[in-house]
């Protein structure tokens, strides 16, 4: 069995903080009011370290490390905001905007979108990369929800919540690279899925307007993934 976690002290952006050895840099930073941007991370889901928004610099290491999966260590010196990191974060966002068809003005999630929020926070006013403008379908076969692939950033939050919390594993990915596509079951229309329980958790955790409630009109899509921390606390007997 793992030994009981020890207390570690480290510095994040010059502020001395203490954290338990099983905590990540992201946990420790947030506990101390230091915000690190994230997209694929969501409290209550396993980490995948895929979006690279939370990369931080560690003193003594040339490689940038994702704060969401890197455990704290004694004497660690973490820097979360440098011109280099900010540049990379802007580029991650630019790459996402150029990858598929993100048209905020006609999106149901306009003003309530984590991708948009991050773009605003990082001053992404325009995209330097050529727009790829792929032709992607919209799946409206489900009775209550819809999936617009044009707005999907492949963060896999829906895949994880469906598998880890709901236990249905309706969602997964097809293909690879830029051709990756979110699919339900064995690539059948969402409405014909045998496993989907229509619980709607995937819609609540989706950071953009890719998964949305058909009954809601644009600008009214308030997503609420807070149920995750509640469920986890229940599971771990903390409530």
């Amino acid at each position: 069995m793992n030994p009981a976690p020890a207390v570690k002290t480290l510095a994040i952006d010059g502020i001395d903080v203490s954290a338990s050895s099983d905590q990540t840099i992201l946990d420790a930073a947030r506990e101390n009011g230091i915000s690190i941007p994230t997209l694929c991370h969501l409290d209550g889901l396993t980490e995948v370290g895929a979006c690279r928004m939370c990369l931080v610099e560690l003193k003594g290491s040339t490689r940038l490390q994702p704060a969401c999966v890197t455990l704290v260590e004694e004497g660690m010196e973490v820097t979360t905001r440098t011109p280099r990191l900010e540049k990379y974060r802007r580029m991650v966002l630019e790459l996402l905007f150029a990858e598929r068809n993100h048209v905020c003005s006609v999106c149901v999630a306009n003003n309530m979108c984590e991708l948009q929020d991050q773009a605003k926070a990082h001053g992404v006013t325009h995209v330097r990369f050529p727009y790829r403008s792929p032709e992607l379908p919209v799946d409206v076969s489900h009775e209550r929800f819809a999936l617009d692939h044009n707005r999907c950033i492949l963060c896999t939050r829906c895949v994880r919540v469906c598998n880890e919390i709901e236990g249905a594993h309706t969602w997964d990915l097809l293909g690879r690279g830029v051709n990756s596509l979110l699919i339900s079951d064995l690539h059948q229309p969402w409405g014909e899925s045998d496993t989907c329980t229509s619980c709607g958790k995937c819609v609540q955790v989706c950071p953009t307007g890719a998964l949305f409630d058909k009954s809601k009109v644009g600008g009214k899509v308030r997503k609420n993934p807070d149920f995750l921390s509640y469920l986890n606390e229940m599971r771990e007997g903390l409530r």
Partner: protein, 547 residues
């Protein structure tokens, strides 16, 4: 199995050879087989039967000089026959005791053979890969029996450390250190994995080793299992290597039959078995964490490290994962000693390295040289230089993760550090020689296309970044790029290599970065003058139209 029993098997093989000393060994590894060497083998068999001469006809592994295949090795005089056709069978058998026909004669006195040092390839082309007895006659499985009966696991790790062997998959992590870490990690169940998911364009070293001498890899894995305390091994081999899979299956069966696999191997308190896992066609599964995910039956995508597989690998158990060539070195290291191995090579890169030499070079094939051999010697002496009166331009090492090395760096000794210094990497051993008919922008575009289509899509920099870099490079080769596109490309190279999750993305910009470093003027020509000096790219056409 004891050493005496091994010797007895070896003696039997020897006796059979003495009874019938004449033999024709036909290469039946993938290169020659693609030229129908199996038909040549049957033609020779038929001819021998028809004439009634006392001569064995057998299949062997790769003899190295693939460009002159199909190759046939004649015993006992060791004469090598090149470009053999079915129609030559009668003449070959007829002249078994005299000099072979001039047109078929392939001299072993040429630098291609003379400048090589065989360790991993010591049995390639000499033994029948489908006969375990022949491997045993070539001192095979001696290291295993010795290790199990005379050595403690820690001693084996020490010997491997002493040899200075570094991971032959490309990254060059010290093998002994890795073994030591897995051995010391506490766990009741541990695994050994052999990474045979060789996928770099132009690389065929591991395939050849598996096809020509599969038992060497098994022996290395079993010794590793004993050294680190594992009882199950997996070989992850790509489905595109059907012959290697077939030979491995036969080898595992034979090894089980003779008790090298199974329970209480050599009467030691050690059980070990090996299973084959066949890849599904994803290049990224050569990355160790993606490979492990694939063996577990999940989608083959990498995960962040740490934890490293040595701590938490297959099914969260401590896992030793090494490349084919790394394992293939182990039997010889144990047989001849770590110190002997360390006497080969350079200060920091010990031993030998197998390279797949291909592209615009006379002698295309498989070679093994001591680390530190200058590139010039590899390409111009062993490789025989550039054919058809063309000039050497660059050599690409390390596949899509590597870079292009220009003429001025040719005197570089091949080892992990110096290749890195010039902007390339050792990689798994693919070496693609390019002459003046190659456009370096186009080469960079080719490798970027490879990375783009092989990116798993998990992390954004690699998924979207490689696609953008490919688009920018396509603009250059098609003559529609602007100087800003070059700036953007360089920005992306920096970002993708610094932020990607796994080695595939981190190294994807290398072909662009190294060609920019040595052939920047070609990029400028494509962008400003819409001119491709090699005459490969579309942009030339565009310039003609507008002129």
């Amino acid at each position: 199995m004891t050493l005496d029993e091994l010797e007895q098997i070896a003696n039997e093989v020897q006796a059979a050879k003495e009874k019938s000393p004449r033999a024709l060994n036909v290469c039946v590894a993938a290169g020659c087989l693609s030229l129908h060497s199996d038909a040549i083998k049957s033609a020779l068999e038929k001819e021998v039967q028809r004439t009634g001469v006392n001569c064995r006809v057998a299949g062997t592994g790769c003899m190295g000089l693939c460009s002159l295949g199909p190759l046939v090795n004649r015993e006992p005089d060791g004469q090598l026959l090149k470009n053999v056709a079915e129609a030559d069978a009668a003449e070959i058998v007829e002249k078994l005791e005299s000099v072979p026909p001039e047109r078929l004669l392939c001299s072993r006195e040429q630098p291609f053979f003379q400048r090589q040092t065989a360790v991993v390839l010591e049995n390639s082309g000499r033994i029948n890969p489908e006969k375990i007895e022949e491997y045993i006659a070539a001192e095979g499985y001696q290291a295993l029996v010795r290790a199990l009966t005379e050595m403690a696991p820690a001693q084996i790790v020490q010997e491997v450390s002493k040899s200075g062997l570094r991971g032959r998959g490309g990254a060059g992590y010290p093998t002994g250190l890795k073994w030591g870490t897995v051995a010391k990690t506490i766990g009741t169940t541990k695994y050994v994995i052999c990474n045979a998911d060789e996928g770099d364009p132009g690389a065929f070293m591991d395939r050849s080793v598996l096809e020509s001498d599969p038992h060497r890899v098994l022996e290395g894995m079993i010794v590793a299992g004993y050294a680190v305390g594992a009882s199950q091994g997996y070989i992850y081999v790509r489905a595109e290597y059907p012959l290697a899979i077939k030979r491995l299956q036969a080898a595992i069966r034979d090894a089980r039959r003779l008790g090298f696999l199974g329970s209480q191997i050599c009467n030691a308190k050690f059980s070990f078995d090996i299973e084959i896992r066949i890849g599904g066609g994803a290049f990224v599964c050569g990355e160790e964490t993606a490979l492990i995910a694939s063996i577990e039956g999940r989608r083959g995508t990498p995960r962040p490290r740490p934890p490293f597989p040595a701590q938490s690998g297959l099914w969260q158990m401590p896992t030793l994962i090494n490349n084919v060539e790394s394992f293939a070195n182990i039997p010889t290291i144990l047989r001849r000693g770590g110190e002997w191995y360390a006497s080969l090579g350079t200060k920091k890169s010990k031993g030998t390295k197998v390279f797949a030499l291909c592209g615009k070079v006379r002698n295309v094939g498989l070679i093994e040289v001591p680390m530190g051999t200058p590139l010039r010697q590899i390409i111009f002496e062993i490789g025989g230089g550039i054919p058809d009166g063309h000039r050497f331009k660059a050599v690409q090492t390390g596949g899509p993760s590597g870079g292009c090395i220009p003429e001025q760096s040719l005197d570089l000794p091949v080892d992990y550090e110096s290749l890195k210094e010039v902007g390339s990497i050792m990689g798994s051993g693919g070496m693609i020689v390019m002459d003046d008919s190659a456009c370096m922008v186009n080469v960079a575009r080719y490798f970027m296309e490879f990375c783009m289509s092989e990116s798993c899509g998990k992390c954004i920099p690699c998924r979207a970044g490689t696609a953008q870099m490919f688009e920018l490079l396509t603009r250059m080769t098609s003559g529609t790029a602007t100087p800003q596109d070059l700036e953007l490309l360089e920005d992306l190279c920096d970002m993708v290599s610094s932020t990607s999750l796994c080695g595939l993305g981190q190294s994807a910009p290398n072909p662009v970065l190294s060609t920019l470093r040595y052939f920047r003027e070609e990029y400028t020509e494509h962008i400003v003058d819409k001119h491709c000096r090699a005459g490969v790219c579309e942009c030339n056409h565009l310039a003609e139209v507008s002129a």
